[in-house]
Symmetry: C2
Subunit: 251 residues, 2 copies
């Protein structure tokens, strides 16, 4: 028996999130089916990040145990033949039998993308949250500083979280402006967040809060207050899922 | 009666191209329907570029004549309420009654995007052509030089073209490498082409030919030979539509 680790990318638009469910199409469900077809044996997948409905990933991570004789690093390409175009295994390899992608310490990096323009750009709307009002990036950067460090992030966690402790360490919150296509009069802004773990909806609430700062609807300082208060109502709204991509998990 | 000019962006994935057809959903058809709903009068649209099935646009241009009293620059936002998410009018304004976007001299700019990586990236596959084999950008840039200038581009025109003359002027063919997301191990390459007009499939055949140069399957010099020969079989294949975006038309 060997434990195989997969690096998985997907366009989350068509899926009810990562986690397997009885009556909905999910990424975990589709990858599990593909593995069973390829390997012709029962397979249980254990994923690192249970991304929400509509959230994308470049590098989610999952493991499974198998008796297959397919060389570990070849499983990625073999499995892609059994997957729809909107899911692609980027890498596969053997790991030790005690490696669990959710419980092993890691640095996770997410990015939230915002399109800031008067009118939507249809070729970006699957991957960006459209914000009409011009955003003040300097204020957003100031506010981002208050979100880094080790804190109780209760204010940035949706109801329904099963986490016992709400303490997490955020290493970096960076605000970028991306180059847009020639002829495009809009702006595209990325909020990139790295940390040792994230609570339920945490990155989307951070994004929703920073957007309110960028719009001038709250001060940068109010973000520090929200963190200290630990009260969900002090933070901003949960930004919509299509802007969020899980970029990488590093162990 | 006033003539209104629209700047139109769309994700071409779901459409059978720009041009109105009886039994297929097209961009021109959807915009015409939306205009009739908004204005409650018969409308005939005249577009600048009849993009193919699956090709995207940031700035296609079309005009129509109307009796409406809606201020010309407000039509864009009003019309967007009647359009699906994958079509957005970016701008509207009045032009003179003799302005026709296809017959008026213009500079058109297209971009062909290539994803160059071992494995597809699902969040880019709607907008890129995936090429596995590493591309030599220096050779592609050399070959691109042979595609600029005023030439008979018969070798870069698909059968079915109704153009009387195949002479066109290409001002620029630039090869760019775009930054990719953090954690993404692939490359994204753009071929940006500007000219006074393009023959049927011309940009896609230029892209298909330059890709063959990048793969080392033909020499840069062979592109000059293809142009001189004026023979379609001397150029490369027609690259698939999803990589192509009409960026801008300047009058």
């Amino acid at each position: 028996m060997r434990r195989i680790c997969l690096t998985i990318s997907y366009d989350g638009t068509a899926y009810h999130g990562w986690q397997i469910q009885d009556n909905a199409v999910t990424v975990e469900g589709r990858v599990t089916e593909a593995l069973r077809e390829l390997l012709q044996e029962p397979v249980e997948l254990a994923g690192a990040s249970r991304t929400d409905s509509g959230v994308h990933a470049l590098g989610n991570v999952a493991v499974f145990d198998t008796e297959t004789r397919i060389p570990p690093e070849k499983i990625a390409i073999a499995l892609n033949h059994y997957l729809p175009d909107d899911i692609r295994i980027q890498k596969s390899g053997e790991v030790t039998a005690d490696f669990h992608p959710r419980y092993r310490e890691s640095i996770k990096t997410y990015e939230y993308r915002i399109r800031n323009a008067r009118i939507e750009n249809p070729v970006r709307s699957r991957y960006c949250y459209h914000v009409r009002q011009p955003l003040d990036l300097d204020e957003m950067k100031k506010a981002a500083g208050f979100l880094t460090g080790t804190h109780d992030f209760s204010a940035f966690c949706s109801a329904g979280s099963q986490a016992k402790s709400k303490v997490r360490t955020v290493y970096k919150v960076e605000i970028y402006e991306y180059p847009v296509s020639y002829g495009d009069e809009g702006r595209e802004i990325g909020i990139r967040v790295s940390g040792n773990g994230f609570l339920y909806n945490m990155v989307r609430i951070m994004a929703g809060t920073l957007i309110e700062v960028g719009q001038g609807r709250r001060s940068a300082m109010s973000v520090e207050e929200a963190v200290s208060a630990g009260d969900r109502v002090k933070a901003g709204p949960t930004a919509p899922p299509q802007g969020l991509t899980l970029l990488e998990i590093r162990y």
